[in-house]
């Protein structure tokens, strides 16, 4: 996010300034991350479908009396069936999406629907093979990104919020602007705003590392290598639950991220993440006229 490549200030009319916003390393690791997270999510839901219950603690199985605090199941309903999602004592009928959904036009018991899983049909072995392959891919890609971000000072320069940005007054102002869908223009758009910085730091340095660590905590082999991970997360079943919750938060981030990309100048955003170049639009005209 540094070099301005075209900013002739000679003409009276405000000129568009094109600048190089995203380095090749950021662009490549970003799109590889999109690929990995998509496959990880869909194969992860396939794995979840093999045992659609979540527990807290060291153990947990669908043998009484282990209490599951989340279950996505199908129940008989007359001649048909209904999908029921239970969270603690609460029960929701979720037929069609969760618990029971259509496969080839026929209502079938499955926690997550076939259009969200890889493969679309129930096949745990294949789901695991895809999940672990893309987990390796994701970790290596993430490692490259981390190394680049530190060495190139990308993190310090572009992601670390300044002290002024972290004041409650500044943050409240940005939240209000976001809520009214008013995005920075002109020179202010040259850097990430502080909500963006906090969101990217939260995902890159908290959520995604948590995904990896809770994933490793589910591995009996890794439990023997790093037993302390079990203590950090409160047991294998707790780690599985945190893995699921963290994945859900990543999905929430991706939805907000994509909506923001769409409404804050989709072509400019997409071009900058593909070619690197971002166009700074001039600020409102009356300001320029002064």
């Amino acid at each position: 996010m540094t070099s301005v490549t075209n900013s002739t200030g000679l003409s009276q009319k405000p000129k568009k300034a094109v600048f190089y916003r995203h380095s090749w390393a950021v662009r490549i690791t970003h799109w590889l991350n999109v690929l990995c997270l998509s496959f990880l999510l869909m194969s992860g839901l396939q794995i979840f479908n093999a045992h659609p219950h979540l527990y807290w603690g060291q153990y947990g199985a669908d043998a009484l009396p282990d209490p599951a605090f989340l279950s996505i199941e199908a129940y008989a309903d007359g001649d048909s069936m209904k999908g029921v999602t239970s969270v603690g004592q609460l029960q929701f009928t979720t037929t069609g999406v969760l618990g029971a959904s259509k496969v080839d036009g026929e209502l079938t018991p499955r926690a997550f629907p076939s259009w969200l899983t890889i493969p679309s049909y129930q096949d745990l072995a294949t789901g695991r093979r895809w999940h672990f392959f893309f987990a390796w891919f994701f970790v290596i890609n993430g490692f490259v990104y981390m190394l680049y971000g530190l060495v190139s000072r990308h993190f310090r320069r572009d992601l670390l919020p300044t002290r002024a940005e972290l004041t409650s007054k500044h943050l409240a102002g940005e939240i209000a602007d976001h809520a009214r869908l008013r995005f920075p223009k002109g020179e202010k758009a040259r850097n990430y705003n502080s909500l963006q910085k906090l969101a990217y730091i939260g995902v890159g340095f908290i959520l995604l590392p948590l995904m990896v660590l809770t994933g490793l905590t589910m591995s009996p082999g890794f439990n023997a290598i790093f037993p302390w991970l079990l203590d950090v997360f409160g047991g294998r079943q707790s780690a599985r639950t945190i893995h699921f919750i963290t994945a859900s938060l990543v999905v929430v981030f991706v939805i907000v991220h994509v909506v923001m990309v769409l409404i804050s100048g989709v072509w400019n955003n997409m071009r900058s993440m593909i070619t690197g170049y971002y166009v700074l639009k001039p600020e409102a005209e009356k300001e320029i006229a002064k």
Binding site: A50, A63, D104, A125, R128, M218, S219, P220, G221, N223
Partner: protein
């Protein structure tokens, strides 16, 4: 021993997705060359774990207070083979564990002989490939002590466990359960041939009279209803050649993850 086979088989047969992108994904899933690439991930997982597990670290052991109130029985819970029915009729008195293959002196062991050997009791967590876990207390003879008695022949690399249950009913025996581990896990101190669970004799649902515990791997490696241990240099000619019942059906041979 942890997969609901009937559901899996039914759904594999029925599942072909309707939309274009899904058909695309399923086509990738079923492509042998894609699978060959993805299997590299399994190789990497095993190499990485083995590198870090060089010191034969132990799986976590828990306390009596941590035991699951009900230990879920999974896989075969009552073998229907003739040989096992005879064992039940005679209360397992005629049962013997055969140990052979690439060993110096093949031997068979009665339960009394196994129980007379030094035993190990461990409270460990059993992790099913499906995702659930249960904690149980296991008592048995370390596999290493049994292997010392027969002596390994040069070139032996794997211990194959042949079981009395046919998890998939078949006429030719291809549905008989079997499993294999390499010598790293075979000599591991927590790898035991277990005849006791939670302070009692092993129940039929959990693999009576003898089952394998290989604590750093997933549940399907812990073969139940053991009849014979065969030392081999390769499992290529056993079953479909992948080293186990579930391995022959697509699951990883190394189940540490």
């Amino acid at each position: 021993m942890s997969v609901d086979l009937t559901r899996r088989r039914f759904l594999i047969g029925s599942g072909v997705a309707a939309t274009g992108i899904l058909t695309g994904c399923d086509a990738l899933v079923q492509s042998p060359s894609v699978n060959a690439v993805l299997e590299k991930g399994e190789w990497l997982s095993m190499k990485a774990q083995r590198l870090l597990l060089g010191g034969q670290q132990l799986a976590r052991e828990y306390t009596e207070a941590d035991l699951s109130p009900v230990f879920k029985a999974n896989g075969t819970q009552l073998p229907e083979t003739d040989i096992y029915k005879r064992l039940i009729d005679t209360n397992f008195t005629d049962w013997r564990l055969e140990v052979g293959g690439m060993v110096k002196t093949p031997k068979s062991f009665s339960m009394a002989e196994l129980k007379a050997m030094p035993s190990r009791t461990q409270i460990t967590r059993h992790d099913c490939v499906e995702g659930w876990s249960a904690i149980g207390k296991w008592t048995g003879v370390p596999l290493g002590l049994v292997l010392e008695q027969v002596g390994l022949a040069p070139g032996a690399r794997y211990a194959v466990f042949h079981c009395a249950d046919d998890y998939e009913q078949s006429l030719d025996g291809s549905g008989l359960y079997y499993e294999s581990i390499d010598l790293v896990d075979a000599w591991h101190p927590q790898t035991i041939l277990s005849y006791g669970m939670n302070g009692k004799d092993l129940e039929i649902a959990h693999g009576a009279p003898l089952r394998l515990r290989v604590e750093r791997q997933l549940g399907y490696k812990h073969a139940k209803y053991l009849m014979r241990i065969e030392l081999v240099d390769s499992f290529r000619n056993i079953g479909s050649g992948k080293g186990g019942f579930w391995e022959d059906r697509g699951y990883e041979w190394y189940a540490g993850i």
